[in-house]
Symmetry: C2
Subunit: 464 residues, 2 copies
Amino acid sequence: MIATARRGRFAHVSQAARIRAATEQAVSATRGSHVLADVSLSAALRRRAEAIESAFAGLDETVRNSAEAQFRSRLAASYILGTFCRLVERGFDRDLARFSDGESAEALIHRWGFHAVDITPCADGRLSGVVDYILRVPPSIVAFRKSYAGAMFDVEESVRNWESVELRRWREARPNAADAPTRYLKIGVYHYSGSDPAHEGCAAHGHDAERAAAALLLRLEQFAGAIEATHCCGAAVATLLVGVDTDDDAIRVHVPDASGRMSVQRYVGNRELYTLTRDLAREAAKDAIRDAVAACAGVASDDATSEGMRWLCGYLLKNNLGQVDAVKQWHGGAYADRGHTERLIVVGDAIDDVQTRNVFFQAQMDTLEEGGADLDIGVRILRGLHEPRSSAVPVLVHVRFDARMPGAEGRARRRAARLRDAILTRYASLAGRGLLHVEAVVRGGDGAPLLPVDPLDLATESFA
Amino acid sequence: MIATARRGRFAHVSQAARIRAATEQAVSATRGSHVLADVSLSAALRRRAEAIESAFAGLDETVRNSAEAQFRSRLAASYILGTFCRLVERGFDRDLARFSDGESAEALIHRWGFHAVDITPCADGRLSGVVDYILRVPPSIVAFRKSYAGAMFDVEESVRNWESVELRRWREARPNAADAPTRYLKIGVYHYSGSDPAHEGCAAHGHDAERAAAALLLRLEQFAGAIEATHCCGAAVATLLVGVDTDDDAIRVHVPDASGRMSVQRYVGNRELYTLTRDLAREAAKDAIRDAVAACAGVASDDATSEGMRWLCGYLLKNNLGQVDAVKQWHGGAYADRGHTERLIVVGDAIDDVQTRNVFFQAQMDTLEEGGADLDIGVRILRGLHEPRSSAVPVLVHVRFDARMPGAEGRARRRAARLRDAILTRYASLAGRGLLHVEAVVRGGDGAPLLPVDPLDLATESFA
């Protein structure tokens, strides 16, 4: 971990400079791109990543030039949190992936049999761009995106989320009517490192890719089983297991067979698919993806039962080819910093506004009592990065509220204050030595400002 | 608190003896009963209370006769927990209130416009018989019964509970079809002491009845507002504020006006109604209740809009007249032990199998991080009762699981073990001095056995 931190120590600045040069190069010459890569989408995503990098780059400069040790601790952490919050409020255009081959991706996903997508990745910062960069799914279709160490989501909570989505279909026909033949899809995303599997894999699963995949597959099966067992009338969800090689963001899609079953060993690997399809004509490349998916599912390419799921797998693979291509173009094949370079930790509710690789470790939780083990992993990773620079680990507690609900902001403030206090208690020794710095914010929905939580918010907790 | 504890010190045994004598007396002469009191229901409830008392009475005897100090601490606490668990598993017949005037209470409640009842009382042990004894509502209609200190329930969680009930109506037409013109009813129950308001009221609200009522009313309004604001198409719930005088179990029903509004100051008090109707003929007594309810609502007795809610208020008042009557018959007007005499604390999921007054303080929570303040109140109350006897405060962690869900038992065991460990950490000093004893159990649904949670259950937590 320490080794990784040293390697990545001043990686941010040099990386930002490298990105700039590479962007210019890419604009002038994209002829090397994969035939299916959406080059303009990649370029837009690249500009966003660059904006995020450069927002932090000023800080790196300041920290490097600063002689005062005290600046390098809490002040630096506070500066990082402030920078991050401003990036969140900046409102980057996340609607870049709204079309797929000129068609509305949302309409396509509905047409192929899915009305909502619930994505559970690992809390690892290298997956912090999972929706916009790695999978390139439009946020409008993503009903939930919650991260947990090792992607180990809570089954009972997922069932409640499903209930919430289904009730809206019944009552409000949103996003479609309840009798439409579509399913709720839960995607679990684990990760590994192809180049350094024993050190740069998933910390929560002992850097063991197979263990990470097997544990997540079991949990997806438990979720699907829970819905079927407790809700009658053919209630069923779709599940999909996806792996990410954090070296180059290439995914593995564990295509379900005709009966919906997946296997840890059976998947379509996008790195191989990239090589296979790179020199093909556009339609031939698409056919190659379809064939690979059908072969993995063990069905004929015109099998009707598995048609929707196979389309979805192909859609994700094709999207991800664009990301693999972008990493090849801009990072010379794979990322220079294969390990962790997270700036901060986000605890509480999900933040998806600042999607890009390795910006933050994030763990979703209501209380630290349930999420403590997840946060321990994040703190251990970020200590390895920040302590050598004598800087505190910045932790942002983030709690969302529905501004339409009476009293919701006050309740969110108390929850955020309680979570912050619990963190300061659990890591009292680190915080006392200036090695951990916690700030808390609440937010009344997408696009709303982040409101700082006052230490008085918990003190004013009343029964009224 | 200490004074109360001393007063109630050996109250259990003498009370049990008194009950036995009173029961015989009651069987031979019920002519003193209120005209609307369901005497046979009261007698059955009395027999159950007696069985519960006598199960604990043996322990009182043993503790009193025991010279060994060590028996009076953890062993006694463990004995209390074991006795309680056996009582839970005994499966008392809770279906006593299934008829109201010979009709199915469930069908009546549906017919009058309610498909599910969600009851949130205070965690105070004097309300532990709130469903079966005080309100006398059949458990089949009670979708949720969760207790919190000061009845301060979580609004967001209540919204999720509502969603869960409504989805079943849409998908499964259970308990009725979604287009049936019925509502979800949430009843909040606060309490106070008419005879000693400054000391025997609700500890969570500083023994201030008006404050307790106002805080709960606000929260009920927030819940109703949250449903209306976040769910379209005329989504609306009914709410009802009820107060209990813990001296004699007489309720106050804060009847909503024609627009559904309630007021802390405006209610029908059952103690007054008891006196008013006692000497009337049966139908005249019922008319008197109806008139009092309509007057409180400020509507004519044939007002159609408020009809269902007024029926429900009358139903609860009539049921409770039976309880007031029973307390008068068996306890000479009011309970001898007006304060706390709880045997144990239940933390986690609700237990309703052993409903009777003052048996246990219970606080519903997923984690101690959110429920710590509630448990603090319970521990403070029970220390006052148990420390003078040199006995540890017995705490039972109880987590339910849906046995149909794959892996649910393991997850429940880990949650129970985590909650137990958090309690032992928070009250480490008390536990270390043998003044607090915690055991944990999980249960796979109504009627299922209570399964002890092994200390290894948390240790074996794996990501799989």
